[in-house]
Amino acid sequence: MSTPSLEIKSVTHRYGSRVALESVDITLQPGQFNALLGPNGAGKSTLFALLTRLFKLQQGEILFGGLSINREPRLFLSHMGVVFQQNTLDLDLTVLQNLEYHGALHGLSTREIRARAEQELEWLGLKDRSHDRVRALNGGHRRRVEIARSLLHRPSILLLDEASAGLDVASRQAINGAVRDLCAQRGLTVLWATHILEEVKTSDPTIILHKGKVLAQGIGQALCDDQNAQSIGELFEHLTGTTGQAA
């Protein structure tokens, strides 16, 4: 079965009189690592809140497999895994308890959750930490737990909002690499939002968001060629007038 597509059409979102997103059109490439690059305040988190239905869609349309997510919200939520910028783990519970809670909220049995959790934690190198309290884990490990959790219900789309923010370079690269492996091995569609230029490769389908507007969208290399830029960093600087953040 092919991965359903995700299309964002003419989406505008306002906080009072302030426009956070303006006529945003984005189509994610199914089964690929899609990079959403934008400086702080670009509107990435607002876009995530709309995609995860934490915010109501004010204007525009979001289609999943051709169906409006407003019409089929539960179907959409069951197909989507999310890692938020902010920690969403319960620090006082163990890794496994956090995973069990999430799995149960997706209608999975305890036995099924434990089997899947073991598999995901092993893949992420955390199997021996499953009974540790999350509070005892470092930032990189917590992020891995969040990724393991987001995969428990076998989503077809994975959204990661600044998943590597606040981590050291090695942890950041490890997490970025692990998510890229997911795309390659499981055919997941990934939307990786970041403001760190080094996390984006020229071969990635890339969306550049700035001040609530999509400035460019396409394969990174093609965008660089269009703008006569030597790198994603130069492209980003050329389009946004800001330098972004190096790793």
Partner: protein, 267 residues
């Protein structure tokens, strides 16, 4: 989503509440210490001053400790209900609320599951209190401990639903002190938990009517009568009606956008 998946979700919500409860042993102790202080210290001091006449459901003169025991059971449920509102606000501020909001299971079902989970934990504490109170001489009929169970469940749901409704209104964790001052204390003191309402009427007619309009009064009376194997129809109707009302209000007031906006500034 099938019925079995709804049950798995319910199981998950209940288990999380228990895990959190086990982590917070001091919460269990404080939930017991508070009513026990009232029972042992307050009741001893006020026993003589606040004589209690023979009033239904009691068939004879009773000690003041016996009179306030149902009110103290409801006090445990009241504090736990409000504690649940605190934990919802905490979850919202810490970000873990998003996990709940991202579930494909309807939010109404998840909130009702949460209410039932809170009720189950509260009941454990109530029965622990009743066991200790028994040692202090408060001895309702043994069968009454069973007949009071449905009443206690309903009251736990009522107070939990008020807590969830309030959690949707509380913007920050710091505002919880306001809940203590403006909700818990007035609800408890302006009720029949510590003194029969005829006594209140003797001193103030308008306070008496405030107590009459306080749903907590009827919750206490429902439990008091049930402990003595009697059904107070009026108390049941009011408690049931208020539970339904506050559950619906809690579900309606639950605003995911507030959870999405919590936490640090984002990109």
């Amino acid at each position: 989503m099938s019925a079995i998946q709804y049950l798995f979700a319910f199981n998950g919500v209940v288990k999380r509440e228990f895990w959190r409860f086990i982590q917070q042993r001091s919460r269990f102790l404080s939930a017991l210490v508070r009513p026990l202080l009232w029972l042992v210290v307050f009741a001893s001091g006020f026993r003589a001053a606040l004589g209690v006449a023979i009033i239904p459901p009691y068939e004879t003169y009773i000690t003041y400790e016996t009179y306030i025991a149902p009110g103290l059971c409801c006090m445990i449920l009241l504090f736990n209900g409000m504690q649940s509102s605190l934990s919802m606000v905490y979850d919202r501020e810490m970000g873990s609320m998003k996990v709940l909001l991202m579930s494909p299971i309807p939010r109404g079902w998840l909130l009702v599951s949460k209410l039932l989970a809170i009720a189950l934990i509260s009941l454990l504490q109530v029965y622990a209190f009743l066991a200790i109170a028994w040692l202090a001489g408060v001895e309702p009929p043994v069968i009454g401990l069973l007949t009071a169970l449905p009443a206690l469940v309903l009251v736990a749901l009522l107070l939990g639903s008020i807590g969830l409704f309030l959690s949707a209104r509380i913007r920050q964790l710091e505002n919880f002190a306001g809940v203590m001052n403006f909700v818990i204390f007035p609800m408890f003191f302006l009720s029949s938990a510590l003194y029969p309402l005829w006594k209140m009427r003797e001193s103030s007619e308008w306070l008496y009517w405030i107590c009459q309009y306080n749903p907590f009064t009827h919750a206490v009376e429902l439990v008091r009568f049930a402990l003595y194997q009697q059904l107070n129809i009026q108390a049941l109707a009011i408690t049931l009606g208020c539970t339904t009302l506050f559950t619906v209000l809690a579900i309606i007031s639950f605003n995911p956008e507030r959870s999405a906006r919590s936490g640090p500034p984002k990109g």
